[in-house]
Symmetry: C2
Subunit: 303 residues, 2 copies
Amino acid sequence: MNLSQFELLCEVARVKSFSKAAKLLHLSQPAVSAQINSIEDFYGTQLFERSSSGVTLTEAGKIVYSYAKEILKLHEALEKEVDALLRTENQKLVIGASSNVGNYALPCTIWTFKEKYPSAEIQQVVNNTDTILNMLKNDQIDIAILEEPMSNFTDDFVTRTVSNDELLVIAPPREPWINRTTITLHELKKAPLIMREKGSGIRRIFEEALASWGLKLDEFNVKAEMSSINAIKSTVEAGLGLSISSRIACRTAIRAGLIHPLTIEGKSIKINYQLVFKTKKPFNITGKRFIRFLAGPGDPLFC
Amino acid sequence: MNLSQFELLCEVARVKSFSKAAKLLHLSQPAVSAQINSIEDFYGTQLFERSSSGVTLTEAGKIVYSYAKEILKLHEALEKEVDALLRTENQKLVIGASSNVGNYALPCTIWTFKEKYPSAEIQQVVNNTDTILNMLKNDQIDIAILEEPMSNFTDDFVTRTVSNDELLVIAPPREPWINRTTITLHELKKAPLIMREKGSGIRRIFEEALASWGLKLDEFNVKAEMSSINAIKSTVEAGLGLSISSRIACRTAIRAGLIHPLTIEGKSIKINYQLVFKTKKPFNITGKRFIRFLAGPGDPLFC
DNA sequence: CAGGGTTACGACGAACGTAAACATT
DNA sequence: AATGTTTACGTTCGTCGTAACCCTG
């Protein structure tokens, strides 16, 4: 038996569904199914009652569940104690992140991480995707979290998808947009558009999406280029144009009614956020833990 | 992290040596080394101080060790509870064993096993190797423990070595043997010899050893064939001849001074005791546990 | 027929054993 | 030399994801 199997079992028991647990653990449903089967095989009895509307713990399952929680708690305490002992050691980790990730997602992630590992010293660097990538190459940062840097990557780097998001068109919250949920590509081409600067991951993803539809950014009515997401939001809010943003970057502004989100009719532009680091990097304990942490249950960035 | 890794760590900590732990856990030394390395990597710090005279726990290692013991204890309690819940279920396991194993090794093994899993119902069948094999084929027993049945086996069976032993020549504890520790092949060929019956694993192993030296049993002076190990020992003790036996079958008689062990000069005949079961066998919990148990630390048969 | 769980299968990585190297006494 | 650990390498087995399938409301 494996601690991660206990974690899986606890997650399944908590959400009462293989498929939901699979999503939360970043696994496929069959993988969860197989793991549960192997655990049941280990204890020689069924632990979950399967039904078409999810699963429930059997009597034996309840026993295993309660002990599994205890064991995991004990192991967390173990990690904390080792942590306390090594407090004097090098626990520093420098994380670089693109604007979207660094400004809107990562702070909460780091906060959760530091709650689990209080002695970790994390330094955060935010810049646009290209700049962060260069810093990673030059060893100025240990690890990066970026919009999917696609294939322009050598074997020297490891990438691992940790979350996903989508691109939105953002508009001022008034006519003609306020009562619409979509915008046609044709409309978007004509509208005044504010873009992020070159080197922005969001901009690149948008351009790649355009390319896949046979379009180029030149054909659009780009009024301004800005490197600050806040500046863009303010500009859109002021009604000076539309822009492109990730959902996470504008979700609070949307909730506050400051800007209005639109999707492009019939299209959807997904973003994968990835962890990137050098293959040969010898991480200290904080680095190893942070990588493990991002692989754990729940969405590490949208927490 | 894995429970078996905790077990390995505890074993290493207990015996303060990678190589000794490897033997006790039926692993190679490099395997233990690699596992410890991977555990140390997980916690981000060294857990054992290596020296040429074994290993000692570091401060961090002591912490991990104490928690590991707790976690394993908790997991044993978990198994016990599941066990109690399933007490009404089918917990029966029929184990067949050859004379050597069944008479001299298995009783203690089963006793230890039942101490760990009190609800297990184990029935033991003892007969010679060939008979036990036939019973296994006919599903009269669930599992067999035998002298290595070599290669005369199909894919339908799984074999797993669980312990080893050696063949001895046993002699009466008086002249001319009492002051000797070895016997030449030439002497053995001439001496009156008492053999186990055909179908005995011990006899087959002896005959195979002879064959590897270019000899046949016909060339020996076989005075009698007996199917009872006790009868053979009594006969040897009475000075009526020499015989061949496994060390485990005669160790108490040797300790009591009733018979005298000899090895064949320049030769050594090893015995591997193996667990054998049908590949497709769907074991109940007792069966699974028994198989796991035999793979655990310590020599399961010479306990 | 849609949501949820299982089965089948190919790919990848972890763990093992063997053998050889290396370190210490 | 002997004992004990590490490194190197090929093999095997476990775990994963994809895709197809099956069951039930």
